[in-house]
Symmetry: C2
Subunit: 359 residues, 2 copies
């Protein structure tokens, strides 16, 4: 059976080296590896080392593993927010983080702008009571990517508040200044080209201290995935529960590959392919980029208006060997969504554009 090439938002195309890494995992019997042994400790250390090197993360930040970014939403609120969080909501994923905070009994404040747009930061006045600012760097329901400089500016404007950034569908593309951010997190089935089932949180010492303060106040911050319990285990290069060891092994190997390729090259490669996509969708009258503000357009997830013909395009693309995504929720028929991750080559992107041109 000929294989399809996946441009879906995630799970998406697996990174080209993955099949080799899976074979080496089988050979090394990684699936039977104890999570309490030296081999696992080395694996955790490898990930910590290569991730910090790749992204320029300060040495004293914590790298913690969860089952999904959805779980990380919950853990961040439980561990770092006593009463109020503040959410920048411009789509479904930002709203789900806000909902998570509300479900946990917090006062989940927000600024909401229409889908497909970004924020007028100058007009946003964050209430004093808000303990954490919550951004969705890349809103994959709409194709809007926030500008890193804007997130940094807000972090500097509110230095006493924690800043959490959902980079689920953009990592490793964004060039964050981790020193002024407290929680940056992602899941590996997007930009890292891995199977789903692993969320990664980069946590500042300040956010960790906050979890200790809440705990000392007698607030329940959870059990096995409370930050103090996790950080204690991480100090020994262990996890509290039996983790997804196989995914961690593959993550370590892909991080080595990304470091060999180089973060600058990955970012330029992403920009090159994004330019190809937007130029095509701007020029072909069948298509129209969904995000009007050119500076708001995502480099890693391109959303395109197709006026009710999404099914037609998705099916024709699939027939040509390319799996692309439908629009999100009620835009299912009116938009298509195309991921642009490191696993996609320039040739892949040209092939997809060729197939879409022919329709």
């Amino acid at each position: 059976m000929p294989k399809q090439l996946f441009f879906t938002a995630g799970p998406s195309q697996i990174y080209p080296s993955l099949e080799t890494h899976i074979k080496s995992a089988m050979e090394a019997q990684v699936m039977s590896m104890s999570h309490r042994g030296k081999e696992f400790e080395k694996l955790y250390g490898d990930i910590d080392f290569w991730l910090k090197k790749l992204l320029g993360i300060p040495e004293d930040y914590h790298v913690l593993f969860f089952s999904s970014a959805t779980e990380i939403w919950e853990r961040l609120i439980q561990n770092c927010v006593e009463r109020s969080s503040f959410h920048f909501v411009n789509g479904a994923f930002g709203e789900r983080f806000r909902w998570t905070s509300a479900m946990l009994g917090r006062n989940a404040l927000s600024v909401v702008v229409p889908d497909g747009t970004s924020f007028d930061y100058g007009s946003v006045d964050v209430p004093d009571e808000a303990e954490m600012l919550c951004f969705t760097h890349n809103e994959s329901s709409t194709g809007v990517m926030l500008r890193v400089a804007d997130i940094h500016a807000m972090a500097k404007r509110y230095p006493d508040k924690l800043v959490a950034v959902d980079a689920v569908s953009s990592m490793p593309y964004p060039d964050f200044d981790y020193e002024i951010l407290d929680a940056v997190y992602f899941s590996v089935q997007k930009g890292f080209g891995l199977p789903a089932g692993l969320g990664v949180l980069i946590l500042s010492p300040r956010a960790f201290e906050t979890s200790l303060l809440l705990k000392n106040k007698g607030i329940s911050i959870g059990s096995y995935h409370s930050f103090p319990v996790m950080v204690d285990a991480a100090a020994k290069r262990q996890t509290v529960e039996t983790p997804n060891v196989f995914a961690l092994y593959l993550f370590a190997r892909v991080l080595e590959d990304f470091n060999a390729f180089g973060i600058d090259a990955i970012r330029q490669h992403t920009d090159t392919k994004a330019r190809l996509l937007y130029e095509f969708f701007e020029s072909d009258p069948e298509f129209n980029p969904a995000v009007h503000g050119i500076r708001d357009r995502s480099a890693t997830l391109v959303v395109v208006n197709v006026g009710g013909r999404a099914k037609q395009f998705v099916e024709l693309a699939a027939h040509a060997g390319y799996e692309i995504g439908y629009g999100y929720a009620d835009r299912k028929q009116d938009q298509i969504r195309i991921a642009n991750f490191p696993a996609h080559s320039v040739a892949d992107m040209e092939g997809l554009i060729g197939a879409l041109t022919a329709m």
Copy 2:
């Protein structure tokens, strides 16, 4: 490199068919499969069907997926216990469930008996306030397996209380009467011979109703992994978050294999191998089964006293190609632990016994 045979408590030996299933997963591009499509819905349906068929689970019970059994401890308390839980503690894993309840601010009551022993149920008087009885069917820190009939009897003695059974390291061996149990759960890296990173909960309609009652009382029962949110998604054969799709695929395939083999055959096979192990350890003066009560001895995890020589045995066994486990925590040097799962054949067990005999 010659492969080792793993008798560790889990992660352990992978089921013999697994390599084939991994190849078919790669061929079918399971790692890129959308968790919002028909293919995933069929996968969820397959697991629900084959698991219920294998274990005789009533049709109206819910089959829900988590990242680990450790997570399930937390979700059970959050969703089903308002004030008090009652824990039967005879080792480290029962104690961790009790700790989880306490960390979540509940009154975590317990009866505690010495490690290596079971309970005198006649003398246990569960307080009226306890909402849930919590059993560890197989305490893998000590090698004590509770008798299913005793758990059933306690469930019948306290018909108004929910009954939760941790079957992490015994499933699919125990023959539970699900009609009188409310939560039976396990993780797949033990008896199912799969890679770690997936916990499975079999939940009664009554336990699910309890989560709704708590929610309607205004109690926070969590967010994405609260039972009402999960059951809503499960009704559409979906999960709330992007799950570990690859593990779910492998789980479905191994469930098919287990059904083909037959649950009676699996249980007899387990008994046969357990008998081989205990007979050997009873007869060889170098060893001594750690659990004195013959009826309390686990069929799926055999713990043996070796008087300070665990390192010697573990290393010699490894040299002969067999990975066995150390004793738990402070019994590390005085005990060895040997798993007896469906992935282990009678010939494997005879080979291991031969290697241990030669020492």
